[in-house]
């Protein structure tokens, strides 16, 4: 792994943000709108505080954490799409850059997006709704790390599909993550799912993060079981999707389709 090559790719993407309003909007505008809409819903629901305790904490916290997962996935997939749109894959993969370094660079970009979006949302939640995301305390960090990992898993998996199936699969960059939302139990507990779907949710690391967050807020008990399950599943899946990415990369090289992705 050569760090200067990873840095080169990260700098290439950061150059894009210097003069691109749509890319800056992706970090500020959309997360802000999300927060405003959900914030008002939460304020409304808070009027029933007696029946639904801690609804503000649950919903706004869940929304901010969901955005961590979503932006983490987007950081990976959109970075790959940027190279397709720029027809730059041939320049990159005819250089000494390895597929692992390419993935590492997209992961750095993902962290950059997650950090920027989380800061925007946390500050806005505090200003507009007096909501302090740090109410969760130090447990916030392992929750965020696990959601970033889940975002990477979905991102690398989606990127592999786009690399393999080309332009027709580009829509997955925006839609794939929402396939996971119902079984991530972001805004409701796992127990509300039908029994068969609960089994599917159980193997989704994000569901354990959100379960853990609700448990922590409701009982103040350390969410060790939830975090252990989320971390174990994340590491297992991340290893698997990285192997899958390399396999797909080699298949594309054999089929000669790597240089034609996106055409």
């Amino acid at each position: 792994m050569a760090y200067h090559r990873i840095a080169a790719l990260v700098i290439r993407h950061l150059y894009l943000y210097r003069r691109s309003l749509p890319r800056v909007m992706e970090i500020i505008y959309w997360p802000f709108l999300d927060l405003v809409v959900w914030g008002f819903i939460t304020v409304y629901l808070a009027t029933f505080q007696g029946q639904m305790p801690a609804v503000v904490t649950f919903l706004l916290g869940a929304l901010i954490l969901w955005d961590v997962l979503f932006r983490s996935q987007q950081g990976i997939t959109i970075s790959f799409l940027e190279e397709i749109w720029a027809r730059n894959l041939m320049n990159l993969f005819a250089s000494p850059l390895t597929p692992s370094e390419f993935l590492a660079a997209t992961m750095v970009m993902s962290l950059f997006k997650v950090t920027a979006v989380s800061m925007v949302m946390s500050v806005c939640a505090w200003i507009f709704y007096s909501y302090n995301v740090f109410i969760i305390g130090l447990w916030l960090m392992p929750f965020i790390i696990n959601l970033v990992l889940t975002g990477w898993i979905i991102g690398v998996f989606t990127t592999s599909l786009i690399m393999r199936f080309g332009q027709e699969a580009e829509v997955l960059a925006w839609s794939m993550v929402f396939l996971f939302q119902p079984i991530s139990c972001v805004f409701y507990p796992m127990e509300v799912l039908p029994a068969w779907l609960r089994g599917v949710a159980w193997i989704n690391p994000a569901a354990h993060v959100f379960e853990g967050m609700r448990g922590l807020l409701a009982t103040h008990a350390a969410p060790l079981t939830s975090l252990s399950l989320a971390s174990g599943l994340n590491l297992l899946y991340l290893g698997a999707v990285i192997v899958w990415f390399h396999h797909t990369f080699n298949v594309c090289k054999e089929r000669g389709s790597l240089v034609r992705v996106g055409e």
Binding site: H4, A8, I11, Y15, L16, S20, N91, G256
Partner: protein, 242 residues
């Protein structure tokens, strides 16, 4: 005598039933310019892409600097670069930003100095801060050539490097390539549909047809062997036989 910089042996590439490259073998010596000629679909692009590690050969081997490309990809590609009229650099970056990224990707030192030299050499000073999307096709060709030469490669793959340039700039570019070869011992694999240019630039030419090498030698040898007036006539004869 030193061993060749590039050694290609029995290279094959099949896509399903279609054979794009059919058992070709050739060498490129240090400082040699090898012309790769052939009609569309003859296998030139696939050969280029295999030599850049972008397409995996079905069989055969590619060795550069004595190393096998399959097992020494990073070490080889560090010393190789390419330029093609059909490939651009990211449009949303300026010319200079693109060159900076490339220089970092190849781990170059004194990046600013090298970029200044290249910009001067290829007469790009006036538009070095321009967004790449705003370049004319000729300027884009010069940028991709600058990107290729910036990393000081020992082997350069050039796919129609002067296709969209006016005759003056094209002449200057050919001069720069010959100077680089003279100064650094750069080896070049060169394709062009401009037969005069091929004759002027190439020390040796291989002619591909349906994935096979059908002629090899100096431009003069090939013209004499096919009994034609010039290389263009040879090209037309072979292309029409396809």
């Amino acid at each position: 005598m030193s061993s060749p910089v590039v050694e290609v042996r029995n290279l094959n590439k099949r896509f399903g039933e279609f054979t794009a490259v059919d058992g070709i073998s050739f060498d490129i010596e240090r400082g040699e310019i090898l012309g790769l000629l052939g009609p569309n679909g003859a296998g030139k692009t696939t050969t280029f892409q295999m030599m850049l590690g972008l397409v995996t050969p079905t069989s055969g081997s590619i060795r550069m600097f004595g190393l096998d490309l399959q097992t020494n990809r990073e070490a080889i590609l560090q010393q190789v670069n390419f330029s093609s009229t059909y490939i651009s650099l990211p449009y949303s970056l300026t010319v200079e930003e693109n060159l900076r990224v490339v220089a970092r990707l190849y781990g170059m030192s004194n990046i600013a100095g090298r970029i200044d030299d290249m910009v001067k050499k290829l007469e790009m000073s006036e538009w070095r801060n321009k967004l790449t999307r705003k370049l004319s096709s000729g300027q884009m060709t010069r940028l991709t050539l600058a990107k290729a030469l910036l990393t000081e490669p020992k082997v350069l793959f050039l796919d129609e490097p002067t296709a969209s340039l006016d005759p003056d700039i094209a002449h200057k570019i050919r001069g720069i390539l010959l100077e680089e070869r003279q100064a650094t011992g750069l080896s070049i694999l060169y394709t062009s549909h401009n037969m005069r240019e091929m004759e002027e630039m190439s020390d040796r030419i291989i002619f591909l047809q349906r994935g096979k090498i059908v002629a090899e030698g100096t431009a003069k040898d090939i013209v004499a062997r096919f009994g034609q007036a010039d290389l263009e006539e040879v090209f037309l004869k072979l292309a029409r036989e396809q």
